[in-house]
């Protein structure tokens, strides 16, 4: 009898994500996706980034231009600092929705709308920026009052000591099982904290710094970020950082069991693989 019970797989379903976390997660995902793609449309209206208050050509640090070659044809050139790269077809020059080559920073398959339309890109951007703000506020209020931040996100002292081990485990796509899998591991906690309390507030504040109205109301924004054009550059870098987070996040979701992870973010239920059994990620 005893032997028989131990043979039954002891996969345990735990309630991992509260309803508000699940809801705000998906709204957040939609908002960030649309903000990124409409943001690239806005970037394309002037595909150069600068440091400082004004867009002096000498202060440019990144640009995506279409330039004419000696033989008369055009090339897309991306310049980062003093280094130039031929990025024809992707950055600076690519085939637009009309099927013709266009001078455009980012290509049409990564902007909203796909065709060049700054006014509409701005409409999308600001609508979903407001939605992101309301969604973020709902999440933050919940996260602090429910104890979600303290209980689920704040790493403990002992967890900090296991960072090295956690990195090597992640690098080999080994994920925690059993009791360990019931909470976020230290790298997950740090990544989520960096996004929630680092990148997202920063992308919000640098976005506001580009607003001439908000600069009049809060002139300190200009001093904090080193001028409007620096704020625009930081805003872009934050978007890049959020994109990198998204890529790693998706890779981790698939590597550690796509079905289980996605189910947990929809229904809240997450299956815990016992310590002595191979995890879904390894079996796949």
């Amino acid at each position: 009898m005893v032997a028989a019970t131990t043979d039954i797989p002891r996969t345990e379903l735990i309630y991992r994500h509260a309803l508000l976390v699940r809801l705000t997660h998906w709204v957040n995902a939609l908002c960030l996706l649309i903000l990124l793609l409409s943001g690239l449309q806005i970037f394309n209206a002037h595909p150069t980034l600068y440091l400082g208050s004004k867009s002096e050509p000498s202060a440019a640090i990144l640009s995506m231009d279409a330039v004419q070659r000696d033989n008369g044809s055009y090339a897309g050139v991306t310049t980062i600092g003093s280094h130039s790269f031929d990025t024809t077809g992707v950055f600076g020059l690519s085939t637009g929705p009309s099927g013709r080559l266009e001078a455009r920073g980012f290509p049409d398959w990564i902007t909203i709308p796909s065709y060049r339309d700054l006014a509409t890109g701005r409409r999308w951007h600001f609508f979903f920026a407001w939605l992101l703000v309301f969604n973020g506020l709902a999440y933050l209020i919940y996260a602090f009052f429910s104890g979600h931040v303290r209980r689920d996100l704040a790493p403990t002292k002992s967890e900090f000591r296991t960072i090295g081990h956690s990195i090597s485990e992640h690098a080999r796509f080994h994920f925690p099982k059993g009791e360990e899998a019931k909470r976020y591991n230290v790298l997950q906690k740090l990544a989520y904290l960096a996004v929630i309390f680092g990148l997202l507030p920063l992308v919000f504040l640098t976005g506001l710094t580009m607003s001439p109205g908000m600069d009049a109301a809060f002139p300190a924004l200009l001093d904090i970020f080193g001028g409007r054009q620096s704020a625009r550059t930081i805003h872009f870098l934050c978007a890049l950082g959020l994109t990198l987070f998204f890529i790693v996040h998706i890779v981790m979701v698939f590597a550690s069991g796509a079905f289980n992870n996605i189910r947990s973010m929809i229904t809240g239920r997450y299956a815990i693989t016992p310590d002595d059994q191979p995890s879904r990620g390894e079996a796949a």
């Binding site: 002037h46 150069t48 909203i112 409409r123 609508f127 002139p219 200009l222």
Partner: protein, 256 residues
């Protein structure tokens, strides 16, 4: 065997993602052209305007810079010249025959020469010009302060907006125009600029007179002003959006 199935599953996932992405973007393009969806999106513009109006007091000034901060090259955007022969004739004469008309819902309509405007209380400010495209340039502007000018003209109680009628057409059949409400009209940094960087305004920058409304984006700063009309509503003017670019999809309130 296992390896090939893994690769085909990956390529299946990649193709699925590409197809899903294309469908998503195609859907966004369709929504972008749907009038009702565009109206929904523009609700955020209403929110932005009202929240900024709540936060911004009348006294909040746009940052002012120093001579050392002036842009080495201030890009002239939009129209850089005016084809109209009447305007060309005025420009030939150094705008000595040019007049600014102020009419509409005002107590004392006026017709002012450049010399008249220069004789009125002025303000000089070094400010940052933020284009909706994303670039910024710093320039020094001197011009007639709007507040004393409007006080001497006298606005009727029903006047809610000032509409700036311009000489340029910007590739269109209709003239450029812009509008601001009275909060911006009476802001201390709102001026009718006739000098830029210590010299009379040049034609590319809107000679002889352009608006500076420093807490909003560049397209609000109407160039080549000919007439200022006080109105209760701009719904019946041109496309009804309150400005050339507003009629082409841009927000009327350009504080962001």
């Amino acid at each position: 065997m296992k390896r090939t199935s893994k690769i085909s599953r990956r390529s299946f996932l990649a193709r699925g993602a590409a197809l899903g992405g294309a469908a998503f973007l195609g859907g966004c393009d369709q929504l972008s052209q749907s009038p009702s969806f565009r109206d929904l999106l523009s609700k955020a513009e209403w929110l932005t305007k009202n929240v900024q109006r709540l936060i911004l007091t009348e006294r909040d000034l746009a940052r002012e810079y120093t001579e050392a901060d002036l842009s080495t090259h201030f890009k002239a955007n939009g129209s850089t010249n005016v084809a109209d022969p009447g305007y060309q004739a005025l420009a030939q004469n150094g705008f000595s025959d040019w007049r600014l008309t102020i009419d509409g819902l005002v107590d004392r309509p006026a017709s002012l020469s450049l010399a008249d405007l220069r004789a009125l209380p002025s303000r000089t400010q070094i400010t940052r010009h933020d284009c909706v495209e994303g670039w910024s340039a710093i320039g020094k502007w001197t011009g007639t302060q709007m507040t004393p000018l409007l006080q001497s003209i006298g606005l009727k109680p029903e006047a809610r907006y000032l509409v700036f009628h311009c000489a340029d057409k910007l590739g269109s059949t209709s003239n450029y125009y812009e509008s601001i409400d009275l909060i911006d009209a009476f802001h201390p940094q709102t001026i009718l600029a006739y000098d830029m960087n210590n010299a009379p305004l040049t034609v590319p920058h809107g000679a002889p007179l352009r608006l500076r409304v420093e807490r909003q984006l560049g397209y609000k700063h109407a160039k080549y002003i000919q007439r200022i009309e006080a109105v209760s509503s701009f719904a019946m003017i041109e496309g009804g959006g309150g400005g050339f670019w507003e009629d082409r999809g841009y927000a009327w309130y350009a504080g962001i």
